[in-house]
Symmetry: C2
Subunit: 406 residues, 2 copies
């Protein structure tokens, strides 16, 4: 007998009929002879509605109270699914995060899971029950309710799969799996049969829309294979795993993009030790994340320092950098907020120089100017004009023949 | 410093502005130097909406799951009130029934409180916090959520007042207090300054609409004075208590009525020992509550046995009684479902024969025929034609000069 953890997102349980349809899918898994633990998100827009209520009460609702409030959304959907399964003749029990033994720290609204006390879960499973766990929430040592922040229910599912040593973790959502790129941008984008944890993480914004990086990292940490599939079809979806077949592939898996990029250039900086830290330490203190950093070759001891930040952080970053630039004798400070990122992702990329050349050729063939380039072991990223990002994604998708991906 | 438990009903927290208004009232109590524990019901129609969702899932939703589902309504309102108080600069914390230590048996949807573990409550009070407890709910030894059934939040408030040895328990609702009779029937009905626990219980349906008998009984058991007042005014409302002033009054306090009365008469019963039990034991086994029982004086060992049941139970009761009547050789079985009850209520009534005479005179003065009469220490009840009940209430209210009640 296998133990399977399944997670259903908010769009899969948005209404009564959809919950019944999820119940049938859960029942089928049980009928196949498996033990089943199900994690559910709140119905449709419930969480937003609850948050809206809180902001009618206060401009800055208390963090502890807000967590208790929004945790009720998942409790409602978990009980409704248990009721639907009960009506179909299955023994099902809903458990809150607290009852399921999901122990967290006290960082309200973004709590980290410290451990799973699986006693209750084990007892209910032993009795043959289907367990429905309210996602997105946990409980502190003091028995206060916490929520896990964005991607919380995915994290609940992977953490339960790890804690229960489940054989499989299935994330059901409203898309067919992980695509080679955002299918709204490239209609030819294909659902992948499999993808590595790291590659999945590099899909950045597009990937995070399907599964939060935090849950993917947790899956990697505990080596839990995660299947992402649609709750509206019977297609197998995408298996996220760390298996060996990945390494050998040496192939571009997908194209990621990000429109949230701004660039700051400190022009004419006297090049001596300590200059970089005099700029980046104050930025870190101000809570601003730096992405790419490029320093041009120094000519007559004068250099240009370029780095990127999220667009929202640009104004704040400029306020930090401008006085420093003046103090260290830089010529000027320039910024550009109309930038975007496009990346090709695939394992073994670093050992295969041809990828980078093919990427740059494809972009230049469309007259797309590359402003900055960064690479990791499994990714090559070009920073380009914001207005050309969509075209770049389509161009690269075609250049790497991803419409034929499996 | 006094400890005050306040309860606000669903109509007092039905919307954002109303919750803010409740917050101001709670803050005022805190500012006056009191420790405050607040119990809230779910907002407006929330509970009905949640129950409606459950019945979209199943014709017969599982009892455990239904309780977890509807318990979320009070959690939502308790957090919103805590958020509103936090915004006003007060330290407030919401606690679920489980967190507040309200321990119950496992009778889902109508759980009984077994005890209050007040450790957490005491700790939060010691830190000067205002505690908002989600009403209507508790937790079993297994940490499963239960709800307390009708009048649950009133019961929560009185039980907390008892468990914390509070100085006062205040039930805020949408009426000005306990009236001499249902004010929708008699516009001259007055709010009483005080009423005894037993008298309050005798107000039956009308009284229960304001405060559930179960909560009144709990107040009597632990001798907790309960103030019932409007959350929309500053009037003092009605104090329900067991104080001595009651006994001495010898006065009619209020008029109760009930339209849910049906009568069954077993005509021509051979009068010998065991006849009554042969009828009433099967009725009890069928779960039918008997109210009044009257047995006429036996003539030639033949008697008539009359008793009343709730209208909803009439059909079921007749099905039980008819075969028995035939078996014991009764002449026939008759029923009347068009009956109602009207009662005068007041302490010391039994020692003052004038009350009964005055009641019968007033009713006969209007040509209202009395079918059955029953009495208790503090109540005289006449069963009359359903169609005359409202008129009887008005007549008695006037006859006992209740429009001048204090």
């Amino acid at each position: 007998m296998s133990l399977i953890v399944q997670k259903y997102g908010g769009s899969s349980v948005a209404g009564a009929d959809m919950i019944k349809s999820v119940a049938r899918r859960v029942a089928k898994t049980k009928d196949a002879g498996n033990d089943v633990v199900v994690v559910v998100s709140a119905m449709g827009d419930t969480t937003d509605e609850l948050v809206g209520l809180a902001y009618q009460m206060a401009d800055q609702p208390g963090a502890r109270e807000l967590d208790v409030l929004i945790s009720t959304g998942e409790i409602v959907s978990s009980t409704l699914l248990a009721i639907a399964l009960g009506d179909m003749g299955y023994e099902a029990i809903s458990l809150s995060g607290a009852q399921a033994g999901i122990q967290t720290d006290t960082a309200y609204s973004r709590a980290r899971i410290l451990g799973i006390d699986s006693k209750r879960l084990a007892r209910e499973l032993k009795q043959g029950k289907i367990i429905i766990v309210a996602g997105f929430q946990g409980v502190t040592e003091e028995m206060d309710i916490t929520t896990l922040g964005r991607g919380g229910s995915d994290t609940t599912a992977v953490a339960l799969a790890a804690g229960l040593k489940a054989d499989s973790c299935e994330i059901f959502t409203d898309v067919e799996g992980i695509y080679t790129t955002d299918p709204r941008l490239v209609p030819e984008a294909c659902s992948l049969a499999e993808i590595g944890y790291e590659e999945m993480l590099e899909l950045a914004t597009y990937g995070a829309k399907i599964m939060h990086p935090r849950a993917v990292e947790l899956g990697e940490l505990f080596n839990i294979p995660i299947r992402v599939a649609s709750s509206f079809s019977d297609n197998p979806g995408t298996l996220i795993h760390g298996g060996a077949s990945m390494e050998a592939r040496n192939k571009v898996t997908g194209i990621a993009h990000d429109l949230n990029v701004a660039k700051i250039t400190v022009v004419g900086v006297p090049d001596h030790p300590g200059i970089a830290s005099s700029i980046f330490e104050p930025l870190a203190k101000a809570g601003i994340s730096i992405d790419t950093i490029v320093q041009n070759a120094s000519i007559e001891n004068i250099t240009d320092l370029t780095f990127t930040v999220a667009k929202d952080d640009l104004e704040k970053a400029m306020k930090v950098v401008e006085p420093i630039a003046e103090a260290i004798g830089a010529r000027q400070c320039a910024s550009d907020s109309k930038l975007g990122k496009v990346s090709i992702i695939g394992t073994g990329m670093q050992n295969t120089p041809g990828f980078a050349a093919r990427m740059f050729r494809a972009l230049s063939g469309k007259g797309i100017n590359i402003q900055l380039i960064t690479t990791s072991e499994i990714r090559i990223t070009c920073i380009i004009d914001e207005a050309r990002v969509n075209e770049a994604v389509r161009t690269l998708h075609k250049a790497f023949e991803l419409e034929q991906a499996v």
